[in-house]
Symmetry: C2
Subunit: 322 residues, 2 copies
């Protein structure tokens, strides 16, 4: 894995940094001590490792004594102004082509959108070429202000998928969430090519849709709503939280706003409610729903409860900008 | 319980606050929604409840969109400059005198120091009078820059106990930590009067001392140390953390610094180490030691490992100032 030690050392020198803060997402945190040691071999700095959980470039740990924050594992989110932050994307070195080749059997085409996360974003030109050679018409879309690279999707933003008019999508990456997100956001079939496991599949949206409608149905009888507003740099929707609370109160419900950094079952235990409404990262409501003692809804799902949105068309919660 | 709604409403009006953030310690968090509702009945503000865990006035939740922070359940720490914070101490209304009366049987005297936490600090004059009537010579000490009231102790500061020359102490309050802290900090016997349970006892320092030496002994063979530096407003000792790491490295150990807001077993799981050294709240190392997979030492205990301190005299870690 390339932690770009040389670039960090150079930046530390240029900025005359005395203290560096290194922030890793959960899957890379264990490399922190050795990356810190390697940096200190080349430049005289103190190194702090961020111990706070981190899931995206929306969550920059500025709460520190450091002169420079080095954020690993995610691409910069262009719309978030990041001061004194160096993003080290830690791209994957795995060859995606064999799995893309396997996926050809599942692709009907002819127009195929290619989407991925930042780990594999440098492979998209070769994937494009490979699909073209196979007689397909591949497209790579540009995302909105939250998306740095063509074809890149985030757990909270599928704008690069929506930007193109295709019959179906090929998602390159592991885990179910992004592929299901593309399918829900576009209404199209998504073929998944996981280059780590060399496994191909079709994104299964049915299960998640059933789960979401199950929670929405359960929330229909609720009286007390606890609306969560995140303080993480790129997850702040305080105005939305306030609006939802006011709207709920106008309609005769009990509702209040909780501001919180890390949303966990044990922090929410202190806030009794029939339903939690999460204006922070949409993935918390969807991936972690089974962990909470009351249903956790997205703002869009809550608007279904309030009768402001039609129940029939399920829509994902996204952080999108122009 | 007195949440001082009127004073908060007045302050909100004076400050033309549009958004109030209410912060409660864990034991009072469940009152948040109703306190928020009562405030909103009198003044047109939006209310945010802080969902982040809180254990003291050392931990002010400024990470918010609010104009005014209302912090409940703790006294201000004078040495910490707190901007736009209103402290609502939520004093206890329990009558302490019956339990103090029970405690007389345990007090030898003649010179008795009276100590307590902020909940009962308004009762100390009557306790003083009561002890005097019983033929004892009671003393109430002034603490250092971290202590607001005469006779008040914190989990991290026993300066008001040390300030007086007495034969023994009477601690008024519940829980074991503060009383044991006074005993360890002064080397004197501490009689505990718990007015909630109407129970009296002698603070037992032996158990905690045995536990601490057990952990110190276990840490003697350690090679890798993870030093924790807190970002909470009144728990920051980055320089101490850096010094400890440098010192450990000079002596041939592996050591690194992790900066963290909430110290929990699951956040530390990402940082493998033989021993954790906690420069944050001393109570985390002592109260929660059984939760962590490796021994967690205070900086003073770590200096025993490094050979910089004599092993024979156990000293508590405190946050003290002049």
């Amino acid at each position: 894995m390339d932690f770009e030690i040389e670039r960090i050392v150079e930046l530390a020198r240029e900025n005359r940094a005395r203290v560096l803060q290194l922030q890793f997402p959960e899957g890379l945190k264990r490399y922190g001590p050795q990356v810190g040691k390697r940096i200190k071999e080349h430049v005289n700095v103190k190194v702090l490792l961020s111990g706070n959980p981190c899931y995206g470039a929306c969550d920059l740990d500025y709460d520190t004594k450091a002169d420079l924050l080095v954020h690993f594992g995610h691409a910069e989110i262009p719309e978030i102004v990041a001061h004194n932050v160096c993003f080290v994307e830690v791209r994957s070195e795995v060859d995606v082509i064999p799995t893309v080749n396997d996926a050809l059997a599942l692709i009907s085409g002819p127009r195929v959108g290619i989407v991925t996360n930042v780990q594999h974003v440098h492979t998209l030109d070769s994937v494009h070429h490979h699909l073209e050679s196979a007689g397909l018409r591949p497209f790579i879309g540009c995302g909105d202000g939250r998306i740095k690279y063509r074809g890149q999707v985030l757990g909270c933003n599928f704008s690069s998928a929506r930007a193109i008019d295709v019959n179906e999508y090929l998602y390159i990456g592991s885990g179910a969430f992004h592929a299901v997100g593309v399918a829900l956001a576009t209404g199209k079939r998504v073929i998944v090519a996981d280059p780590f496991l060399r496994k191909t599949s079709i994104a299964d949206v049915d299960l998640i849709i059933k789960q979401r409608y199950g929670l929405i149905a359960k929330a229909m009888d609720a009286h007390t709503f606890c609306v969560l507003a995140s303080t993480k740099t790129g997850q702040q929707r305080f105005d939305l939280a306030f609006e939802l609370v006011e709207e709920a109160i106008r309609r005769g419900y009990d509702a209040y706003t909780v501001t919180i950094n890390e949303i966990t079952p044990w922090t929410l235990y202190q806030f009794p409610a029939d339903v939690y409404v999460n204006t922070a990262c949409p993935r918390v409501a969807i991936d972690d729903s089974a962990l909470f003692k009351a249903p956790m809804l997205t703002p869009i799902e809550f608007e279904m409860i309030l009768g402001k949105r039609d129940l029939s068309e399920y829509t994902l919660d996204e952080f999108s900008t122009g």
